[in-house]
Every structure is written in structure tokens, then in C-alpha cells.
């Protein structure tokens, strides 16, 4: 690691995620070629920027539907962001209740599959297998299909597999709340080991106490926007106040508040984000670079069509020769 320059483990700039809601399948296909033609948009994330250093343990809090899962999915590369940039300097491991397990396979087969995907040879896997099985505490169940497992057992298996892959960045998504306290403690001590090794951890939990116990920084996301990102104590207190206020509202008030926020997420545009960035003192080029919709490019149109024309032309020539010569 470079000591002269501060290096971030994760660096996000103005990340947005838009879910386009389509009436039917063909509308969806049309939009992939013609750009966004959706009848309705929903911006699950509206411009998140943050830097995370090695050794940071970041708690992510927010009420249901605030965009936590969307952020985690983007971090772990499951879905692409709509605009903005994300830089990761290390491998990622995700521990979540139903993450990445194949339900038809047995526990043992799942372990092997995951390790094969990491590029390990069968010999290496055979060596690591006893450790992983022992840590998962599944015992006889290891040779049963995962669909017969309880939630707690799945969480244990997932946790064992991911932590044995030794990722640089670990994402823990509510996974520890389903196991029994015995396993939670074991898992938490494993996480402490990771912290001691200066790995970066993202920790999502509805249990504020657990967040307080473990993290040193907290990110509070609300309705797709970053409300605050800073030292644990300060942000958790702010969040707690917010939740209290929300709970103190009458049902009607709360419904109006929430639906107003959701409406804002629907009518959000990237232009709004641009205005906000300009106000914060970013220059024009920077703003445009940050809000450019992430494009997926294949080949450029002209070489593509030229190549295809040439190939089809040659083919016509061959067919012509066939028919002439019989």
C-alpha cells in the first residue's frame, strides 16, 4: 500500500440508481436501444459520494426502502449504477441471509462451487473444506440440500464460505441477526479479526446497538440520499432522533411525509443533481463527468456496419459462385 498518498478502499462519486418501470417486456427492450423511454422512474439512489479507508467499519442505517440494499448491490457488483463512478481497491465478500447459495445443492457442494469460482483447484478446496465445515457448525446437515436448511443455518454456511475466501472488503447484510447468539458471537469475533487485519467492512443492521458496538463510522441513507456520513456516535444519534420523530407522528402525517419523499424520488432528474453539485462548488466539467449516464458501449457503429457489409458481401459472392457452378 502506498504510504505517501492516502489510499481509499472504496471511493464513490455521485452514484445514482434509477429503476425504470415498464408496462411490458417489449417496452423494456426498446429502451435498451433507444435510451430511457420508461413511463415511470424510481430513483433508489440520488447521488451518493463517500470515501472509505482501509480498516474502516462502516455501519449503514436507514429505514426500510431507503436504498441500503441497492447501495450494497452496486458495491458488490450485482447491479450497475445509472451514473457516477465507483472505485474498489480489493476483492469483495458478501454475507447476507440468502446470498449466493444454490438451494438445490448440498452445503458441501455449495462450498466447492464457490471455491471453484474463486479459481481454487480441487486439491486446495479439499484442504480447506474441513475448516469451513467446522466453522459453519452444520455437522450432519452439510450433506443435505440447502433448501432444507433453516435461515440460521444458511447464514452460518454463507458466512463460513465468504470469510474463508478472505476478502479485502466484507459486506455484512443483516446476516447476523438470524443466527443464534452462540454463532453470532463466533461470527462477531471473526469480524473483529478482520477489523484487526485492517480490512474494510460494511455493516448493515436494523439493530442500532449492534451498529454502535461494532462500527467506527456510520452512513445514514434516507430516501436515496446521504443524510450524513461521519463518526459513529454523531450519526447514530441523529438517526435515532429521526426515527423517534417519525414514530411520534400520527399515522396520517407519517403517510404524507413518506409519500412526499417517494414522490421526490420519482420526479428526480440528473439535472437536479447537477444543480446541487454546482452549488457545492464543482466546476462545470466535473459536474458533467459525474452525472454522465454510465453507457455500455459495444463497437462503434461505422466499423460495425462496415465489417458486416463486407462479410455479407463476400458471402453473397460465394453463394453466387455456388449457383453458377452448380
Amino acid at each position: 500500500m502506498d504510504n505517501t498518498k492516502k489510499q481509499y478502499m472504496v471511493s464513490a462519486r455521485s452514484i445514482t440508481k434509477n429503476f425504470q418501470l415498464y408496462a411490458n417486456q417489449s417496452e423494456k427492450l426498446k429502451s435498451t436501444f433507444l435510451g430511457n423511454t420508461a413511463d415511470a422512474n424510481f430513483w433508489a439512489l440520488r447521488g451518493l459520494s463517500f470515501d472509505v479507508e482501509p480498516g474502516d467499519v462502516v455501519g449503514i442505517v436507514g429505514t426500510n426502502g431507503s436504498g441500503k440494499s441497492t447501495l450494497l448491490n452496486i458495491l458488490s457488483g450485482v447491479i450497475p449504477q445509472t451514473s457516477g463512478t465507483l472505485e474498489l481497491n480489493g476483492s469483495i465478500g458478501v454475507v447476507a441471509i440468502n446470498e449466493g447459495l444454490n438451494w438445490d445443492l448440498t452445503g458441501r457442494e455449495n462450498i466447492r462451487l464457490k471455491q471453484l469460482m474463486m479459481g481454487k483447484t480441487n486439491k486446495e478446496i479439499d484442504e480447506a473444506m474441513p475448516d469451513i465445515i467446522e466453522f459453519s457448525e452444520l455437522g450432519e446437515f452439510i450433506d443435505q440440500p440447502v433448501k432444507d436448511y433453516s435461515n440460521g443455518m444458511r447464514a452460518k454456511l454463507g458466512f463460513s464460505i465468504v470469510t474463508h475466501n478472505d476478502p479485502d472488503i466484507l459486506i455484512v447484510d443483516e446476516a447476523l441477526s438470524v443466527g443464534d447468539s452462540n454463532f453470532s458471537n463466533k461470527a462477531l469475533s471473526k469480524i473483529r479479526e478482520f477489523i484487526a487485519e485492517k480490512k474494510t467492512i460494511f455493516f448493515v443492521s436494523h439493530d442500532l446497538e449492534q451498529v454502535r458496538e461494532f462500527t467506527n463510522k456510520v452512513m445514514w441513507i434516507q430516501y436515496g440520499e446521504m443524510r450524513d456520513f461521519g463518526p459513529m456516535k454523531q450519526v447514530t444519534d441523529e438517526y435515532e432522533t429521526f426515527v423517534k420523530d417519525l414514530n411520534a407522528m400520527s399515522d396520517e402525517e407519517r403517510d404524507t411525509f413518506v409519500s412526499n419523499q417517494k414522490h421526490n424520488q420519482q420526479i428526480f432528474t440528473l439535472a437536479q443533481l447537477q444543480d446541487k453539485l454546482s452549488l457545492n462548488g464543482h466546476n462545470k466539467e466535473d459536474v458533467e463527468a459525474r452525472t454522465a449516464i454510465r453507457s455500455f458501449q459495444g463497437f462503434k457503429a461505422i466499423p460495425l456496419y462496415t465489417a458486416l457489409t463486407v462479410l455479407f458481401g463476400l458471402m453473397a459472392l460465394v453463394v453466387y459462385n455456388y449457383l453458377l457452378k452448380g
Binding site: 476483492s91 479459481g119 455500455f296 462503434k300 462479410l311 463476400l314
Partner: protein
């Protein structure tokens, strides 16, 4: 244009680099698929053998006695072609859903999506080997088993088949995610294609209909591979002796390579949004 050739080539290099992993995953997946059956992996061999046997009974024996083709007994002629046909047909139809069914496996892992179709192609090999053995046995029994210098060109035809399967696969697997109907539509085409690929009878010019089938078979890349297998093992013909078919085949592969790579590069990072 240069970028295009480079990115197509780098896709192929990716396959070679990940070949070891792809083979391990293919073996693993086949085992896992058969783990709960009593006959287990034996089915990988049984299934294709029964297919070739069915065609042998219907067209070679009882129902319709077929004449020897160019001096080769029908069953020998058919089974040699069938081993090639099984490779291209089964390999191809298995790649169509390869990305769709396996994409959940590769999230969070640094593993290129383009290797997923290759895994499916590799899984066809045990079956192809078992049909080939049957074909060799039948060749030996009828006295047509002559190892010759021509057998070397199986390397060329195998290479051609693999390149075809790869680019067709990457094209189809991507398309199938964008357009879910593709899978079913292609199955109908493959069913028809079976009869214009020269598996059960050699297409020959005749009346308008027969000529049509004859001409389709000449431009059909699957026929090119099947015919190549027979040229190698039975008829002792070099592949450069049919330059027009050779050109046609590689032009077709070129088109699939260009369109397939384009679609793959365009959509590889957002495929999951479509599932």
C-alpha cells in the same frame, strides 16, 4: 476495425486463460446434476447412445432399410456424423441458456461471464466421446477402420466446431436474456436443421424441394462440421478440397463473432437488470 479484431481476439484469449477453471466447473456441474440419480454420471453416456440407437433402428434397420452411402454401411456413416452433430447441436442448444442460469453464480466473483457458454460446451464432451467410440467400433466391425494421415485434420474440424460454438454461444446467450423467446424459437429451427444437416441422409439435388434442401445444407455451418467428420474418418478428403464451403463457413462465423462480441460487450455489465 482494429479495435474490433482485438476485442474479438481477447474474448478468445479469455477462454484459453480460464480453460482450467472452466473444465473444473464443467466437471463439477455435471457431477452435481447427476448426483441424485441412481445411475449418476452414467446417464451422460446412456442418453446419447439411446439417441443414436433409435435412429439406427428406424432408418438403418427395421422400418426403412437405407442403402450404403458411398460404399459405407449406413450405420457407420450415420454414427460418425452423429457424433459431430451431437457436439454442435447439443453444445449449441445448451449455451443458449448458459448465462441466464449461471449468472447468479458469478456475481461478487471476478469471473468473466463469457466463460459461462464455454462451460456448457465442455459438458457435452463425454457424450461425444461415447458416440465416437460406438462409431469406431462399428467401423472396425465392418472393416472400415483405417487409420490414415487424413485423421489429422480432425484437429482442424474440432477447432472449427469449437470456434463456431463459442461465438454462436456468446451471441445466443446474450440475445436470450434480452429476448426470452429466443430459446424456444431456436429449438424449432434446430429441429428442422436436423434434416438439412445430412445426419440421416445425404442431401442431393433432384426436384425443386430436394435441391432446396441441398443448397441449404451447403451453407449450413452444422453440415460443414458433420461432413468434415465424415471426410476425415471415412472418405479421406482434405478440408481444402472444398474451398467454397470453407469460405462460407468462416464468413458465417465472422458475422456471428462480430455481432456476438458487440452485443456481449454492450450488455455484459447490465445483463442482471434484465433477469
Amino acid at each position: 476495425m482494429w479495435i474490433m479484431i482485438k476485442s474479438i481476439f481477447s474474448l478468445v484469449v479469455e477462454q484459453v486463460n480460464y480453460l482450467g477453471m472452466a473444465i473444473r466447473l464443467a466437471i463439477y456441474d455435471t457431477k452435481a446434476n447427476n448426483a441424485h440419480k441412481y445411475l449418476g454420471n452414467f446417464w451422460e453416456i446412456l442418453d446419447p447412445l439411446f439417441q443414436v440407437l433409435t435412429y439406427a433402428i428406424i432408418f438403418g434397420g427395421g422400418f426403412r432399410q437405407s442403402a450404403p452411402v458411398e460404399g459405407t454401411p449406413y450405420f457407420v456413416w450415420m454414427s460418425v456424423g452423429f457424433s459431430a452433430w451431437y457436439l454442435v447441436n447439443q453444445g449449441f442448444s445448451d449455451t443458449i441458456r448458459s448465462i441466464q442460469t449461471q449468472i447468479f453464480m458469478v456475481k461478487n466473483v471476478k469471473f468473466p461471464v463469457s466463460v459461462l457458454p464455454t462451460i456448457r460446451v465442455l459438458q457435452v464432451f463425454p457424450a461425444v466421446c461415447s458416440i465416437s467410440i460406438v462409431a469406431f467400433i462399428s467401423m472396425a466391425l465392418t472393416g472400415h477402420f483405417h487409420v490414415s494421415i487424413y485423421w489429422i485434420q480432425i484437429i482442424y474440424y474440432m477447432f472449427a466446431a469449437l470456434v463456431m460454438l463459442f461465438f454462436l454461444g456468446i451471441f445466443s446467450a446474450t440475445i436470450n436474456i434480452l429476448i426470452p423467446d429466443y430459446d424456444l424459437a431456436i429449438r424449432q429451427v434446430l429441429r428442422l436443421l436436423f434434416f438439412v444437416s445430412g445426419i440421416l441422409f445425404e442431401p442431393a439435388k433432384g426436384n425443386a424441394f430436394n435441391s432446396l434442401i441441398y443448397y441449404i445444407s451447403r451453407v449450413n455451418p452444422f453440415y460443414y462440421i458433420v461432413n468434415g467428420w465424415r471426410d476425415t474418418f471415412l472418405f479421406d478428403r482434405w478440408f481444402w478440397n472444398s474451398p467454397l464451403q470453407l469460405t462460407m463457413f468462416w464468413l458465417e462465423i465472422g458475422i456471428f463473432a462480430v455481432i456476438g462480441t458487440h452485443l456481449y460487450l454492450k450488455f455484459k455489465d447490465q445483463l442482471i437488470d434484465f433477469i
